[in-house]
C-alpha cells in the first residue's frame, strides 16, 4: 500500500519532467538539427529537418495530453502496471533527452526516444481509456 501511494506522485513527477524537457527542446533544437546536417548545408535542408523535428515534438505533446487525461481523470491513477510502465519510460526519456540536449545528438535519434518513451505509455493509456468506456 505504501509503495502504491508513492507510485502516484513519482509517476506524475517523471511525466512533468519529461514534458519540461520536451518544451525546452522546442527552444534549443537548432544545435541538434545542425548535428545531423553536413558542414555545408542549404537553408532548404535546414528547414526540412526543422519541420520534421517540430512535428515530432508536437506529436509528443499530443501524446502527453492523452497520458495526462488518463492520469488526472483517475482512469489509470491507481493502476500500478501503467504507473510502473510510465515511470520507467518517462525516466528513461528524461535521461536520454538530457543527453540529447547537452551532447547535441543528431536529430534522428529523437525518433528512437519518441517511439520507446512516448508512444508506448500513451498507447497503453489509450487502451485503458477505451476499455473503460466499453465497460
Amino acid at each position: 500500500m505504501s509503495a502504491l501511494k508513492s507510485l502516484v506522485p513519482a509517476r506524475f513527477l517523471t511525466l512533468v519532467a519529461h514534458l519540461v524537457i520536451v518544451i525546452t527542446i522546442f527552444w534549443s533544437r537548432d544545435n541538434n538539427i545542425k548535428s545531423c546536417l553536413p558542414l555545408e548545408f542549404t537553408e532548404e535542408q535546414f528547414k526540412t529537418e526543422d519541420t520534421r523535428l517540430l512535428v515530432a515534438l508536437s506529436v509528443t505533446l499530443g501524446l502527453f495530453v492523452i497520458e495526462l487525461a488518463g492520469f488526472l481523470s483517475g482512469v489509470s491513477m491507481f493502476n500500478s502496471n501503467q504507473a510502473v510502465l510510465s515511470l520507467l519510460s518517462h525516466s528513461g526519456a528524461c535521461v536520454s533527452l538530457s543527453c540529447f540536449v547537452f551532447q547535441q545528438w543528431p536529430c534522428w535519434t529523437y525518433w528512437i526516444m519518441f517511439s520507446l518513451c512516448s508512444v508506448i505509455p500513451a498507447l497503453f493509456e489509450f487502451i485503458l481509456l477505451i476499455s473503460l468506456k466499453s465497460v
Binding site: 506522485p9 506524475f12 513527477l13 512533468v16 514534458l19 519540461v20 525546452t24 488526472l72 491513477m77
Partner: protein, 143 residues
C-alpha cells in the same frame, strides 16, 4: 434518524488531487531552483546582493507554499470554508513570487521559465476549484 445520518460529502476530489500533486511538484521545484542558483552563482557574474535576495525570496516562497497547501488541505478535507479561503488568499503572494521567478529575477534560465509556467498552471486550476469549493461549502446546510 435516517435523515440525521445523511451528512453530504462536500469535499472536492479534484482539488485534493491538485493539492497532493502540487506538494510533490513544489518539492521538486524547490530542489531544482536551489541547484540552478548554485549553478548560476558559480558560472554567471551574479551580483552578491541579488543572489542573496533571490535565495531569501525562495525560502519565503517555500514558507508561503507550505502554509497554503496545509490550509487548503485542511479546509477541503474538513469542509471549512474559512481555511480554504485563507489558502486562496495566500495563493496571491505565491503567484506573485512565481511571476517574479518567471520574468523578473537577475538571470532566468529556460528551465526556470518552463517550471514556473507549469506551477502557474497549477495555481490557475487550484484558484478555480478553490473558489467553487468555497461556494459549495458556504451554500450547504449541514445539520
Amino acid at each position: 434518524m435516517l435523515l440525521l445520518n445523511k451528512v453530504s460529502q462536500l469535499s472536492s476530489t479534484p482539488l485534493q488531487i491538485l493539492f497532493h500533486l502540487n506538494g510533490w511538484y513544489f518539492a521538486a521545484f524547490f530542489i531544482a531552483e536551489i541547484l540552478m542558483f548554485i549553478y548560476k552563482g558559480v558560472i554567471l557574474p551574479y551580483p552578491q546582493a541579488n543572489l542573496i535576495l533571490d535565495v531569501v525570496l525562495l525560502l519565503l516562497f517555500l514558507g508561503l507554499e507550505t502554509l497554503r497547501l496545509f490550509y487548503g488541505w485542511k479546509g477541503n478535507l474538513c469542509q471549512r470554508s474559512l481555511a480554504l479561503f485563507v489558502s486562496v488568499a495566500v495563493l496571491v503572494p505565491c503567484a506573485v513570487l512565481s511571476v517574479y521567478y518567471l520574468l523578473l529575477q537577475t538571470f532566468v534560465l529556460r528551465l526556470e521559465f518552463v517550471l514556473n509556467a507549469v506551477l502557474l498552471c497549477f495555481y490557475s486550476f487550484e484558484l478555480l476549484l478553490g473558489l467553487m469549493t468555497i461556494s459549495v461549502f458556504s451554500r450547504a446546510n449541514v445539520y
